[in-house]
């Protein structure tokens, strides 16, 4: 604790701090994606936005747990969340395809 920057220090204060910041960045990435989805699908956007504080909470929980133990359950949960969000966005994009095609013919006829 006296020299937290010491690479030989066995108490990984800085490593834990960096990891906490990485969790916060991940939560922010979720919030940013939620904001983007909100523009096209309000329900899905709100769901993704609501996930951001949960991700942040997961990071905080892991910080308070015993130092430096692996947590496959929590990380699997994050993986599931990211994959589910990706598939939901894929569905939004593909289902919106027909709708956007319906919008474009008038635009092509103009030329």
């Amino acid at each position: 604790m006296i020299h937290p920057d010491d690479p030989d220090d066995l108490d990984p204060v800085m490593a834990r701090e960096r990891t906490r910041l990485a969790w916060i960045r991940t939560a922010l990435a979720f919030a940013a994606l939620g904001g983007a989805v909100l523009k096209t699908n309000v329900a899905a956007g709100l769901t993704v936005l609501a996930m951001a504080p949960l991700i942040w909470l997961t990071g905080r929980l892991s910080r308070n747990s015993a130092a430096g133990k692996s947590r496959p359950g929590q990380l699997a949960l994050i993986t599931l969340a990211v994959t589910a969000v990706a598939l939901v966005v894929l569905a939004i994009v593909l289902l919106g395809h027909g709708k956007s095609l319906g919008f474009h013919p008038p635009l092509r006829r103009q030329r």
């Binding site: 834990r16 940013a32 308070n64 496959p72 894929l90 994009v93």
Partner: protein, 131 residues
């Protein structure tokens, strides 16, 4: 949160039936950060794909152009997330056993896909310019 450094005693044999010993906490933290970085990469790919399909004006003469560029990015995001987890698990196993960490295939997958998408984007742009 106030100063609670957590139990600093070692927890031997705390693994879930895995062989080997608990690695240095800094390695575990670093592996976790790498996993989180891949998760953010996946999210960034998804948001880029969504932005291309929904926010970009359509390419004149190439109505499917935005989907051709955006959908592969979103699919790549859906692949990168579980692949990042598999890589985290493999790295953690190697760390526990004191073995060298396995070679990562994710950078190669990412490079090939993004290069292909860049080439497809160039073709779509050229097609819409010709028409």
């Amino acid at each position: 949160m106030t100063g609670a450094t957590g139990p600093d005693e070692d927890h031997p044999g705390s693994g879930a039936g895995d062989k080997g010993t608990e690695p240095d906490a800094r390695f575990t933290f670093a592996n976790e950060r790498t996993f989180l970085a891949w998760s953010r990469t996946a999210l960034a790919l998804v948001v880029a794909g969504l932005g291309i399909v929904q926010l970009l004006p359509p390419f004149p003469g190439v109505p499917w152009g935005r989907h051709l560029i955006g959908v592969p990015l979103i699919v790549l995001g859906a692949i990168v997330a579980p692949a990042g987890y598999a890589e985290w698990a493999a790295n953690q196993r190697a760390l526990r056993r004191g073995e060298p960490v396995p070679r990562s295939w994710l950078p190669a997958i990412l490079t090939v896909t993004i290069t292909s998408i860049a080439l497809v984007s160039a073709v779509v742009l050229l097609l819409s310019a010709i028409r």
